[in-house]
Amino acid sequence: MQPSSPLIQEGPVHEGERLLRLCNACRYCEGFCAVFPAMERRSKFSAADVNYLANLCHNCGECFYACPYTPPHEYALNLPKVLAEIRVESYARSAFPRSFSLAHRSSTLIISALVAIAIAVMAAIAAAFGGFASTGADFYAVIPHRAMFVTLGLVFVLAAIAMLVAFFRFWHDAIRVPIEAAPLIVSLEDTLRLTNLNGPRRWFHHATFYGFLLCFASTCVAAFYHSVLGWRAPYPYCSVPVILGTLGGIGLLAGPAGLFWLKRKRDPALDDLNPRDFGDSFIVLLLLASFTGLLLLALRETAAMSWLLIVHLGVVLALFASLPYGKFMHGKFRFAALLRNAFEQSRYTAIERQGTEPK
């Protein structure tokens, strides 16, 4: 006897549908996180629903340890692992162009090559338009401002376009709710405060996220100083760009280092992902960017400045180029999932068990 056909035919999303159906008949985990109450608002799961719920999951693993049906039980229920696989799938499906996605390939080699190429590009720019002499923290003598602006700006704009396309692809696949003010505010708050994360992971993530923003702000202020006010770098140690960049750099050292350490301690049962280095390569790029940036600041008056600058800008260039294709996208997808969750919370309640006693 086989029951009527499931909604989704194959792949991790198909497995996700099977598991969510089991979880929805149990519900013991509903106090752990947002995934379970969101699951309880429906009795069937389309591919879009599974995709959306997968991107609400933060892979804390609590439900895995509480579940009596984990392998080798015949239900073989490992929700965090399967949702992690579905998330990776959603990054791969949404990437623009899709073939650039790092989600299904071992990214260590690709990222290393990208960093090497980006440093070579910066060195070539220095050779063609500037020079290799380290004269008194004069960055633009090594790489002229216009060349720096054009190179990094071009890559950043292309990356931003790719990220926008990926976001809309994901939105189309999994979210598609009307945008209303109240849910938008709730989901922004959830995103910016990481209300669904707990413990050290939350603080390391905050350090990373706000470190990144501070570094970005530092760059914008510096660009404003240069282009509008005509103030040339280097800026003094107590200037706004240097203070923002230093604070951001420290956050971007501590945060990713902490996240990297937590990842090493993780139970491999929870996300035995293929490839495992998908998140790592982004973390390592962030660490390299902050480390070379702070080193450049410390040694900007020395002979090492020119090469440090070339390496730092090369790493930043590689980081920009890789943003739309790696772990960086998870934040956008999660925000979209949180938005749908907040929208649904404002509209629906769970499908309830008819007043029955448990046993």
Binding site: A25, C26, S43, H73, G355
Partner: protein, 464 residues
């Protein structure tokens, strides 16, 4: 025999909630403790893995419990479900000890949550474990490890050596090799015998082979049998078990809560011959769901089918297996391997007998049939709105009632009426003292926790 074990103060047989509460209770009283859990580590904790709440007396609202739940109300609830088959002294001890246990659990890091969606009626009386019973027991195992309690997995007690009423040692098969474990006291907390189909067939005959066991396959009643054979007195009817209607596609063992179906009162239930056999609308579902295991066990091949239509299908919580779905009753009969003519005739007769009323599945409404045998006395709506949905049903056994008679110290009582000085029991193995029949949601965990702690403390004192 392989390497000898040291002599422990307390041997705990079992590995669920009661066993771990006993082990922690004994260890915290200073005793050295060894736990013999017959399941492998991933299946540890017996049916506590599937539990989810703790029924608790309280005088005022707590972190997760609303309002108040007095001793008298608790006791009356117990009297009602057991039809008076309860030992009042032990029952009142249980109820009075429950708030203190709630505090003890919280101190030991057990996390609670407000009552789950759809179980709001339990929000006043039952404290839900965050993540369920496995999460609860994981907490206890983590503490046991810190306190130096020795836990043996794949460790089944296969024989007991007693000198008169005194426990001397147990033979424990650890990973298949027998070892002699000597201890100054024994706590039997190894559950009932619901997973022992041979034992069940003593009361149920051939029908037992078609039973589905909802929980652990490791509750085979070995320690219960050994102690009964050593002269322990019993409580509870040996032929009785808690049996409900399950999705027939459930695994033979350990399918858990997800295989339960709540559609029965919303449609009709037919047997293999396509005929109705009991009033599906007799009473509110919470009061009647536990009679359906027995009803289905009495049908040919112990199978039945719940059939609903699109009007009511969405009114219950989703279950683990998708329904068989068809546009006509005849087509559904084909999917369920029933005779199409008979089922069609049964549904036709049912539909013609339905008396119009105002349907409300949350109370005893006035929708019923007239002139059928058996009639459906409530929630009788015509099955006339496709698609039609069908679920195959089997009897699902939750637990057995036969247990060891104990006193208020948790000591096992022998047939001569005297307590065994160093043999204690806790949990499902002695639940029959309090729960002679029926079930009260969450009381199993309360019995395990209260009597686990009593037995553990008693066992530690018995070693001095």
């Amino acid at each position: 025999m392989s390497e000898p074990f040291p002599v422990f103060d307390v041997l705990v047989a079992g590995g669920g909630n009661a066993a771990m509460c006993a082990a922690l209770g004994a260890r915290e009283s200073g005793a050295t403790v060894v736990v013999a859990e017959c399941a492998p580590q991933h299946m540890r904790a017996g049916n506590s893995r599937h539990a989810r709440n703790f029924r608790c007396m309280h005088a005022s609202p707590t972190s997760v419990l609303t309002d108040a739940y007095t001793e008298e109300e608790y006791f009356n609830d117990l009297l009602q479900v057991t039809s008076g088959q309860t030992d009042e002294e032990l029952a009142r001890l249980l109820i009075r000890s429950s708030p203190e246990c709630f505090a003890w659990m919280t101190q030991h890091g057990v996390r609670f949550q407000p009552s789950l969606t759809g179980t709001l009626q339990l929000g006043r009386t039952n404290a839900f474990f965050l993540g369920g019973g496995k999460a609860l027991v994981n907490t206890y195992y983590a503490i046991a490890e810190k306190l130096g309690i020795r836990v043996l997995y794949n460790a089944e007690v296969t024989a007991l050596r007693m000198s008169g009423a005194r426990f001397e040692s147990a033979t424990v098969s650890v990973d298949g090799s027998p070892v002699e474990i000597r201890a100054k006291a024994l706590v039997a907390a190894s559950g009932g015998f619901e997973a022992n189909l041979e034992w069940l067939s003593e009361a149920w005959g051939e029908a037992a082979k078609n039973f589905i066991i909802r929980g652990t396959p490791y509750n085979r009643g070995k320690v219960l049998r050994l102690l009964l054979d050593h002269g322990a007195d019993h409580v509870g009817d040996p032929s009785q078990c808690h049996a409900i209607a399950l999705d027939a596609r459930a695994p033979k063992f350990d399918g858990g809560i997800v295989t339960r179906l709540d559609t029965l009162p919303l449609g009709i239930v037919v047997n293999q011959r396509g005929q109705r056999f009991y009033d599906e609308g007799e009473d509110l579902w919470p009061k009647r769901y536990a009679i359906w295991g027995r009803l289905i066990a009495q049908q040919p091949d112990q199978i039945a089918y719940s059939i609903v239509d699109s009007k009511t299908a969405g009114m219950v919580m989703p279950s683990a297996f998708p329904a068989f779905e068809a546009r006509t009753i005849r087509e559904l009969a084909g999917l369920l391997t029933l005779c199409a003519d008979t089922l069609d005739a049964t549904v036709d007769r049912f539909n013609r007998s339905c008396v119009d009323g105002s349907f409300d599945h949350t109370r005893l409404d006035n929708c019923h049939t007239r002139g059928l045998s058996p009639d459906k006395t409530h929630w009788a709506l015509k099955l006339d709105s496709p698609p039609f949905f069908g679920y195959p049903l089997r009897p699902g056994i939750t637990f057995t009632y036969l247990g060891l008679k104990v006193n208020r110290c948790g000591q096992v009582i022998l047939k001569d009426g005297q307590p065994a000085p160093n043999v204690f029991a806790a949990g499902e193995i002695m639940a029959g003292n309090i729960l002679g029949q029926g079930y009260l949601a969450g009381i199993g965990m309360t019995i395990g926790t209260v009597f686990g702690r009593i037995a553990g403390g008693g066992a530690a004192s018995a070693t001095q």
